[in-house]
């Protein structure tokens, strides 16, 4: 079976022009594969470059060298060299990303924040809102909050809205950056169930989780990011 994600020798350095052009190497020689239905957890201390690798796979950070192969609509595309239009197409049809923090659009109700990815992919508004409602319910967001913009929610509630938004689509690849960080144990268990359900559905996942117990519950394989340390 071919890999959904196939990263070869990817490299990332930040050049800080406002600090006299100082070079900040982040990662080098990043190489790993993720197959359908597999959850790979990136491990390593804070600052090792875990989030940067996720952002490179999502096309949010540029990749200076190497290749980020993504299986997109039946063909492999190298995101490191893709045009903006191609990256957007990959995000619409192939890769979902649950960031650490919700970047909420002002004024938009929580249920619409969650439903939006489905609507953008052509689903009927009513159907999308039903799906959004059932995810919010599963994640214990009380129904009276659904019509409110999440900017007023607590950190944990915002994170659950974020998770619902990330899990609502049926995309073949999902990137998870600390999805359980600000959640209580009941909601962590819900997220573990959601992840395992995605796995059974054949979704390839890359996750960052600091909690050892959660890691054991979801990881099929662990990739140690310290081996990609770029510090000279």
């Amino acid at each position: 079976m071919t890999a959904m994600i196939d990263i070869r020798d990817a490299e990332k350095t930040f050049t800080m022009h406002l600090q006299g052009g100082v070079e900040l190497p982040v990662v080098r020689g990043v190489s790993f594969q993720v197959r359908a239905g597999e959850c790979v957890v990136l491990s390593g201390p804070s600052g090792a470059g875990k989030s940067s690798i996720l952002k490179m796979i999502f096309g949010n950070y540029r990749c200076d060298r190497g290749r980020i192969g993504i299986c997109h609509e039946g063909a492999q595309i190298d995101l490191a060299k893709a045009e903006p239009r191609q990256i957007l197409s990959v995000r619409r049809a192939t890769i979902g990303y649950v960031s650490q923090f919700l970047r909420a659009v002002p004024r938009v109700a929580a249920i619409d924040v969650v439903a939006e990815p489905l609507i953008a992919n052509g689903a009927a508004r009513e159907h999308a809102r039903e799906q959004a409602g059932s995810l919010l319910r599963a994640l214990n967001i009380p129904e009276r909050l659904w019509a409110l913009p999440p900017s007023t929610f607590s950190g944990g509630e915002q994170q659950r809205v974020n998770i619902a938004r990330g899990f609502i689509s049926d995309l073949p690849i999902l990137l998870l950056d600390e999805p359980t960080a600000s959640l209580d144990s009941a909601n962590r268990a819900v997220v573990v169930d959601l992840i395992n359900e995605k796995k059974r559905g054949g979704v390839a996942m890359v996750a960052i989780v600091h909690d050892d117990a959660i890691r054991h519950l979801i990881a099929d394989r662990i990739v140690d990011v310290t081996s990609f340390a770029a510090a000279a």
């Binding site: 022009h17 540029r62 903006p84 659009v105 004024r107």
Partner: protein, 264 residues
């Protein structure tokens, strides 16, 4: 608004080597890019960087000193804007394009009613049934969240935010394929800005519009656009996917712009 559909294999508008000089001053130098159907492009940069000059070149309001702009007409044929006849040019301005000015007074007729402001664009393309025009105008006022009870008031007595929403309705009523926007949220209160941005975001994605938005506000670029071009001294110095340019800026000037945003 990176979730929007961006399909279509053929570009809608192509700029090729666009330059504009005023005597020795080069306001815009060698700008080339392609805009695809459904795509929203933001042009960012500080005052005097050449953003508005570029927008005027792209919308055929200024003649370039060098280079060209081509546009795919509704029949699918790519045409050089400089070579269009007067009738074709009028068609673009009246129907196929919208132009949202920073100052609504430039895009509206301030002394005639809101309904007439919207209806006028329809009459310009041949609508003549008063009832139909009024119905369409009121449905557009509703879409931009203007109380129908205000349809007979002139925008002179509207608030700044309402004027801007009316200007958007006037532009979109003819179902254009491309909308140019020059600092659409400039000069508005933050709360009014948020409402307008949310409205524009939804309209653009529902209608599958292409848009070119000039803004000095990176938050506007992030919310509305798929792609960004950063301008400095008349040149495009960095370009790419909006979140990539804003989260991982490469050029010194882009890093300065991004790092200059005050945290909310």
């Amino acid at each position: 608004m990176a979730d929007n559909a961006v399909d279509g294999d053929q570009p809608l508008l192509v700029a090729d080597g666009l330059s504009k000089s005023y005597g020795r001053l080069a306001a815009c130098r060698d700008v080339s890019f392609a805009l695809y159907p459904g795509e929203v492009l933001a042009i960012v940069g500080e005052s005097g960087s050449g953003k508005t000059t570029l927008l005027q070149l792209l919308s055929a309001q200024l003649a370039p000193s060098a280079g060209s702009v081509s546009y795919r007409m509704r029949d699918g044929v790519m045409r050089d804007l400089a070579a269009l006849g007067e009738a074709e040019r009028r068609f673009l301005f009246r129907t196929d394009w919208g132009y949202v000015h920073q100052d609504p007074a430039l895009g509206l007729r301030m002394a005639v009613s809101a309904g007439a402001n919207v209806g006028e664009r329809l009459m310009a393309v041949g609508w003549n049934n008063y009832g139909r025009i009024r119905n369409t105008a009121s449905s557009w006022l509703e879409r931009v969240e203007i109380d129908i009870g205000r349809i007979d008031d002139a925008p002179r007595i509207y608030s700044g935010g309402m004027r801007q929403r009316l200007q958007i309705a006037r532009n979109l009523v003819t179902e254009p394929r491309l909308v140019f926007m020059d600092e659409p949220t400039g000069g508005l209160d933050v709360s009014v800005q948020a409402r307008l941005l949310d409205l524009m975001r939804n309209l653009v994605s529902e209608l599958g519009l292409s848009a070119i938005v000039v803004t000095h506000d990176l938050a506007v670029a992030r919310l509305l656009s798929h792609r960004v071009m950063v301008m400095k001294g008349g040149r495009v110095i960095e370009t790419g996917l909006t979140d990539q340019v804003l989260d991982d800026p490469c050029e010194p000037y882009t890093q300065l712009l991004v790092s200059s945003i005050l945290p909310a």
